[in-house]
C-alpha cells in the first residue's frame, strides 16, 4: 500500500489520519506538502480535515489553487484512489474534482458530534464494495460548512448513478436533527463517476478507538484499503 496524506497550511487532522493509516497498514503514509508538484506513484491520497488557509474566502477555495492539486489530478487520472475528509471534501469540490457545493450548516453553528451514516452502495467503488446498502456506521462530524447543495439535475444524476456514498441516518422517528448540517437528501459523502474519489464530511480517522468515537471509522478505512490494494 502506497498512501500519502496531503497537507496544507491550516490542515489539522493530518496527524490523526496518519495515525489511522499507520494503524491499518503498519507503516506511515507519505506526507505531501501543498507546494509539492512531484509525487511517486501512489495507491491512495488522502486530503485530511482542518481549516486549510483558515477557511478564508470559501472553505477549500485557497487550497484548491495550490500547486499540489495538479499532482492530485494526475493521480486520479492514473486511476489512483482519492479520499477527501471534511475540509478535504471541501477542497475536492473547490478543485472541481467532485460536483456540487458545501455551504454553511443550516443552523449557522459549528457542529461536533456523533452521526450515523447509512451506506449507499450501488456503484463499484473500492471505498464501499465491502458494505451493503443499508449498513450503517457511527462516525463523528465536526464542521461549519458541511451543508451539501446541488441543483435538481445534479441531485438526480447522483442518485441515479449511485454516487451518493453516505446519507445521515435517522435513528428513530422522533429524531429531528439527525442531519447535522441540513444537506440535501441527507448527503454526507459523494463519489466521482468512476467511484475512485470519495468526499465525505464525517471523520473516519476519529473513530478508530473503542474508548472514544467507536471503531466504525477504522472498519471503513481498513476495508477501503483492502479493496484499493486489491
Amino acid at each position: 500500500m502506497r498512501a500519502a496524506v496531503a497537507i496544507f497550511p491550516g490542515s489539522n487532522c493530518d496527524r490523526d489520519m496518519i495515525v489511522a493509516l499507520k494503524k491499518i497498514t503498519g507503516k506511515s503514509p507519505l506526507k505531501l506538502w501543498h507546494k509539492d508538484t512531484e509525487a511517486p506513484n501512489l495507491d491512495l491520497i488522502v486530503i485530511p480535515g482542518g481549516f486549510s488557509f483558515g477557511d478564508y474566502l470559501r472553505c477549500g477555495a485557497l487550497a484548491a489553487r495550490s500547486p499540489i492539486i495538479k499532482n492530485i489530478k494526475n493521480h486520479i487520472s492514473r486511476g489512483g484512489a482519492l479520499l477527501g475528509v471534511c475540509n478535504g471534501f471541501q477542497i475536492l469540490i473547490e478543485a472541481n474534482i467532485l460536483p456540487g457545493s458545501l455551504v454553511r450548516n443550516k443552523k449557522l453553528l459549528f457542529t461536533c458530534r456523533e452521526t450515523t451514516l447509512e451506506v449507499q452502495n450501488s456503484l463499484q467503488s473500492p471505498f464501499l464494495s465491502s458494505f451493503n446498502t443499508g449498513d450503517y456506521l457511527n462516525i463523528p462530524v465536526a464542521h461549519n460548512e458541511g451543508n451539501y447543495i446541488a441543483n435538481t439535475e445534479l441531485l438526480k444524476e447522483l442518485e441515479n448513478d449511485g454516487r451518493i456514498a453516505f446519507k445521515y441516518k435517522q435513528n428513530s422517528e422522533i429524531e429531528t436533527d439527525y442531519n447535522p448540517n441540513g444537506s440535501l437528501h441527507d448527503i454526507a459523502g459523494i463519489l466521482s463517476k468512476n467511484g475512485r474519489v470519495l468526499g465525505m464530511m464525517p471523520h473516519p480517522e476519529r473513530s478508530i478507538n473503542s474508548l472514544h468515537g467507536g471503531t466504525d471509522g477504522l472498519k471503513f478505512l481498513t476495508k477501503s484499503i483492502e479493496e484499493i490494494v486489491g
Binding site: 489553487r65 457545493s101 454553511r104 447543495i149
Partner: protein, 82 residues
C-alpha cells in the same frame, strides 16, 4: 484604480445567513422589510493603465479564485482615483 467586487449568491441558492438575519431583525421589532440577501465584497487596487485592462484583470481574478461561479454571481465596480 480601486476595484470593488460584489459577490452574491445566485437566485435560488439558499442563503441561511440572510434567513437568520431576517429572523433576528423581526425579533428586534423590524417589520417593514423583505427579501434579505447577504453578499461579500472584495476591494483592491489594481495598477493598470486603463479601465478596460483593470476590468479584464479583475474578471480573471474572479473567475480563477474570488467567485464560486456555480452558486455565486459577481459584479465588478471600478472607482476612478481622483
Amino acid at each position: 484604480m480601486k476595484v470593488i467586487v460584489n459577490i452574491s449568491l445566485k437566485e435560488g441558492v439558499l442563503d441561511p445567513e440572510g434567513q437568520a438575519i431576517d429572523n433576528t431583525l423581526r425579533n428586534l421589532g423590524f417589520n417593514n422589510f423583505n427579501n434579505i440577501r447577504t453578499g461579500k465584497q472584495i476591494i483592491l487596487n489594481i495598477d493598470k493603465v486603463n479601465d478596460n485592462e483593470v476590468l479584464k484583470e479583475a474578471d480573471k481574478m474572479c473567475q480563477e479564485l474570488l467567485v464560486n461561479t456555480v452558486i455565486e454571481n459577481y459584479h465588478i465596480n471600478i472607482i476612478k482615483d481622483k
